[in-house]
């Protein structure tokens, strides 16, 4: 079966004519990505310098509040931003060393779905309501590989079983609205995994689900990833969700990467006041009876990002320099990076 197994041992042969992928390069490398939307009301700067790296078998969590630009960065990688009004003004997205932005549409389409796949938040609206679920999964095979209907349908059933949907054989012809929320999400995952992509981007995969179902889906993603060795990007605003599953995390704010690091580092010793604020705002059992500590203020309007450090209006450690000068995303060693003038000080703060 030509899906599921990541071609670990094999050479990543150029399956698109003329494109030479580098098997040594990291799976996905986003470098200083800038995306803007030119609307009637103004230019929305959705991404202002997003950089991250994803390696094989790694789970990267992209964390941030709504409107931080996390989804946009993923959409840019997938190449599904509507132009107009969206424009990628700067930066690169290298998949196995090849900058996707330099490829033409046909080449990108060959990669989309086949090498890099994406799943979305609400499976009910993300799946086409008028086609059976199995048909939509099988479509991946029929369209990309030219598989026959019967074969493709068989693969679809296998995939449904793989994502642990009971009674797959019967349900393969059911419609999306006939599934429960959790089942639908699994189906969408099955569809994304169909051709054995090397990167799976999950955009808020559990936000629309009940808490118990959330856990199941996360567990499913985790185990699928161990099986296939694919890279997983988890986009979410829910910190609790990623604690178990992610290896590394990137914290986004106002369309920029504010901090990069391993999960442990991010959770236990954040190097950025924003990250610190996020961690503190998580309700923990120890805080019972006390007050929740939110971050004051709200995220900036992306048409009008504050001068200097975008977070300075809400930062309790703000100094003069924060208002004047925008900090760069500085390496702190060991794959750690933070966008803050006082990153080192924040790291060594005692978290109480």
């Amino acid at each position: 079966m030509a899906d599921g197994q990541l071609l670990e041992e094999q050479q990543i042969v150029a399956d698109i004519s003329g494109v030479n992928f580098d098997p040594e390069a990291p799976l996905l490398e986003v470098d200083d990505l800038h995306v803007e939307f030119r609307l009637r009301e103004g230019v929305v700067h959705a991404n202002n310098g997003v950089s991250y790296t994803l390696n094989k078998g790694e789970t990267l969590a992209i964390v941030g509040e709504s409107g931080s630009g996390k989804t946009v960065s993923a959409q840019a990688v997938m190449g599904i931003i509507d132009t107009p009004p969206g424009y990628i003004t700067k930066g690169a997205a290298r998949f196995r060393g090849v900058d996707l932005f330099t490829l033409d549409e046909e080449e990108r389409r060959a990669i989309r779905g086949e090498r890099i796949a994406m799943i979305f938040q609400d499976a009910l609206t993300a799946l086409n309501p008028v086609f059976p679920v199995g048909w939509q999964i099988a479509e991946m095979f029929r369209s990309h590989r030219g598989t026959s209907r019967a074969e493709a349908r068989k693969y679809a059933i296998e995939l449904l079983e793989r994502v642990r949907i009971p009674g797959a054989k019967e349900r393969v012809d059911s419609y999306p609205h006939e599934f429960s929320g959790g089942m639908r999400q699994r189906a969408m995952i099955a569809m994304a995994l169909a051709l054995g992509p090397e990167v799976l981007i999950a955009d808020e995969p559990t936000t629309a689900l009940d808490v118990t179902v959330q856990a199941q889906i996360m567990e499913l993603l985790d185990s699928l990833q161990s099986e296939t060795g694919m890279g997983l990007i988890l986009i979410t605003h829910d910190l609790a969700v990623i604690a178990e599953v992610a290896d590394r995390a990137m914290v986004m704010y106002a369309g920029e990467a504010f901090e990069n690091g391993t999960i442990d580092e991010i959770f236990e010793s954040p190097a950025n006041p924003y990250t610190l604020g996020l961690m503190e705002s998580i309700a923990t059992p120890e805080q019972k009876g006390g007050r929740l500590i939110p971050i004051e203020g709200s995220p900036p309007d992306l048409r009008n990002i504050p001068r200097g450090c975008p977070f300075h209006p809400r930062c309790r450690f703000r100094e003069e320099i924060c208002v004047e000068e925008e900090p760069a995303l500085r390496e702190l060693g060991g794959g750690r990076a933070s966008k803050c003038h006082f990153a080192e000080e924040v790291v060594t703060l005692d978290r109480s």
Binding site: I80, A117, P129, V130
Partner: protein, 307 residues
Amino acid sequence: MGRYLLRRVFQFIPVFIGATFLIFALVFMIPGDPIRALSGDKPLPQSVQDTLRQQYNLDEPLWKQYVLYLGGVVQGDFGEDFRGREVTEIMRDRLPVTAKLALYAFVFEMIIGVAAGIMAGLKKGGFMDNLVRISTLAVISIPIFVLGFIAQLVIGVRFGWLPVSGLREGFMSFILPAIVLGSVSLAYIARLTRTSLAENMRSDYVRTATSKGLSRRRVVGVHALRNSLIPVITFLGVDLGALMGGAIITEAIFNIPGIGNAVYQATLRQEGTVVVGIVTFLVLVFMISNLLVDALYAVLDPRIRYE
């Protein structure tokens, strides 16, 4: 699915009874002599009046009148004209003509309408889009009879490209009337398709389909279109009603010997029985076609099958 259809059929029956009763009531319950209503100002010879009186059972109590009338309708008796000719007889010759006209109009409006709507919907704000927007508005505004006359004058008379009257030239004779008949519906369909497609193109599932790496042609042609056409199909049911009304006018203008013309002539001659008879028949056809469209709708949209 079966249950859904069964429910629709069950709903059909009371509506059928209601609609026929409504027509019946209008004719026979209006204060005054129903014979007068049916015949207008022209005095009818006593023999004809007697025949009418007997046919419509005017001596019976009202409820019985209706029941007998309904019974007649169900058996295919739609009344007679004043010379004793059965309405069904009148319709027999003319029905195929109108059916052909309606069919041509239908095909015309569907093909052009959907095509225009798709082109407009895909490039929102583009030239095609604005063109469709303005022209559909204009076509809808111009009453069909004005359109018909203008078409006759310009295309038929001035340029002589197409015949404007009668059916002497077979298929060619149908072209202009069919275009005129279908024009307003075409405008509706184009708008509907355009809006529906534009809306669907913004939907989540289209985004998913694109993410799956499907070709644009497939995303639009298979995924978006299937959903977009659902409201258009819905419209078709209503459209038939509009076509019926339009056919009366179109056949009158282009002198086409169809059912519409029969109604028109009957109204001119104030032959109420024929008018009522044919309209009852047309209403029946309309209701049945709506039922069929309901069924078609269920086939297209799986979400409603389990209502």
